[in-house]
Symmetry: C2
Subunit: 329 residues, 2 copies
């Protein structure tokens, strides 16, 4: 087998407990001895066995990151950032995909529970109540969701939505449509509310249509509804839905942005590459990943002492080619 703390101890001529202290509580050990121990460890290529220390300390130094769909371009930047940030702090992260299935989410939390010090739930599909219950056993941080007693990272998509509505109003659009996301999506709810109040403020008509699958197919399926209502400005749940609706409108001989303007959300690669390039609400995805890990680590070291924090991250609007002035009848 590999090299253990005992090997280091005998090479350094000290007891295992001294080695342990030298590694994890250096101030408790004589500087000279510590040096000897460290040298021995280096020489042997010693790496502490986390499983063993987890057993005694109850700290695994692992985190879980649970997302709905790894292949949805919204998530990879978040995963990447979270994972990098965690690693700098000597944490490894399990990444798991629930395929948008609440039950898989719960099951996953269960099997992960013993192996991690905490879990980041990104846009969970589980009911609030469930999350509250589960959070009694294990530190959680939710992203884009608000749950009593649970730390949260919120992307302020409401603000971005207001910007989008103003932008559309400024272009002369009078009739807007919001394509809502999956049932239970916090962020979709934020968008709806913000859109309603902003529309009222600008004196615009607004229809909310949903739920829609958060995919291109979901968007394509909504195209007919857009045409039927005669809306000329559309705010889609995310970039994928926006791309889908543009494609679907194309099949109905409705051109974007000439006939209808479409705004996406997330600012994914997909949106940048689409033609027309998407006007989109920019979500701070990497920052959300880092912040979530940060809050989680705090909760963990605080011993999860009941205090939950909230971080709100700003969003913006990037105007590209999928929005334009309303066509004059």
């Amino acid at each position: 087998m590999a090299v253990t703390i005992r090997d280091v101890a005998s090479l350094a001529g000290v007891h295992v407990s001294t080695v342990s202290r030298a590694m994890s509580a250096p101030h408790l050990v004589n500087a000279a001895t510590r040096e000897r121990v460290m040298a021995a460890a280096r020489q042997l290529g010693y790496r502490p066995n986390r499983a063993a220390s987890a057993l005694t300390t109850g700290r695994t130094h692992n985190l879980g990151l649970i997302v709905a769909d790894i292949a949805n371009p919204f998530f990879p930047p978040l995963i990447k950032a979270a994972q990098a940030y965690a690693r700098e702090r000597e944490y490894h992260v399990f990444v798991a995909d629930t395929d948008e299935d609440p039950q898989a989410e719960e099951e996953l939390i269960g099997t992960l529970a013993k192996q991690v010090d905490g879990v980041v739930l990104v846009a969970p599909r589980l009911a609030n109540q469930q999350i509250e219950r589960l959070s009694l056993d294990l530190p959680f941080v939710v992203v884009n969701r608000q749950v009593k007693g649970v730390s949260a990272v919120l992307m302020d998509v409401g603000h971005g939505t207001e910007l989008a509505v103003s932008h559309l109003a400024g272009l002369g659009h009078r009739r807007l449509m919001v394509l809502a996301g999956p049932r239970g999506s916090w962020s979709s709810k934020q968008m709806e509310q913000a859109a309603r109040s902003a529309a009222a403020e600008h004196g615009l008509e607004l229809t909310v249509s949903g739920p829609n699958a958060p995919t291109e197919q979901g968007g394509a399926a909504a195209a007919a509804r857009v045409r039927r209502t005669g809306a000329t400005g559309v705010i889609a749940y995310n970039d994928l839905v926006a791309i889908g609706v543009i494609e679907g409108l194309g099949h109905l001989d409705v051109q974007v942005p000439e006939d209808v303007s479409v705004v996406g959300v997330d600012d994914t690669v997909a949106g940048r590459l689409n033609r027309p390039k998407l006007t989109t609400i920019v979500m701070p995805t990497p920052a959300a990943g880092r912040t979530a890990v940060d809050l989680l680590l705090q909760t963990i070291t605080d011993g999860g002492g009941g205090v939950s924090a909230q971080a709100s991250l700003a969003t913006g609007l990037t105007v590209r080619e999928s929005t334009g002035p309303v066509r004059r009848g």
Copy 2:
């Protein structure tokens, strides 16, 4: 703390070893006792502590998955599939991103080693020799790389490249250019070789230009080189590079596919969404993720007894809008 095997034992009125057996070697225990144990476990919501069992068995039931860049659209489908497949087999997976840095890769393997039963290395940047050495300590599977003694999943990009060359030849192109990937990329080497022999067969001129960064920037930077050589058919290292070169050519007033045809590789979302939609060599990414986990699990259960397997997965060519007949002078 949580419920342990001891709690289950006392509720079921048996000894801990019986519980352990009932869970992991059911055939060694009386059916009736087993039922009693299971009932007790269910009642208490018992979940075995993997860290503890890892300590005795040396099996963590965890895998590592190391990729160069989570945010590169090539990887997410692979990660998603690998992770889902592993979970069905009761394995969790650590996902880690090296940011294309060989040193990070090695460091990561080191810190992960004790916590996993094996590691999938996707398109590693490490030298073969290093991987060979590391594979002495830990089961590895490499994807798109061949290393002596290490199981591998290979996507047969050579075949896809031949198809692409034939396709371009059929459209009348006589002068081709291959935009190679990063130094040390196995898959780039396969493409180059296949392109050379296929070009020779068709009597075409071929230039290989590289290394290029596997990104849009890398592609954009290559546009001038394409124009300089007068190539009318380009095969790019991946979809991102293809998209970049198309963009770059646009700035030079070279139109795709009217003036130059461009073929990508990977069949990512990005390529599907790009305008013109990319003609691309289709990589079997989800299958590669599953197969890699499959081989890894085999290696692990075989005790890593020296046998290494190779799986070769077929690739194809999807023709879309970025390729067309050569322009007649």
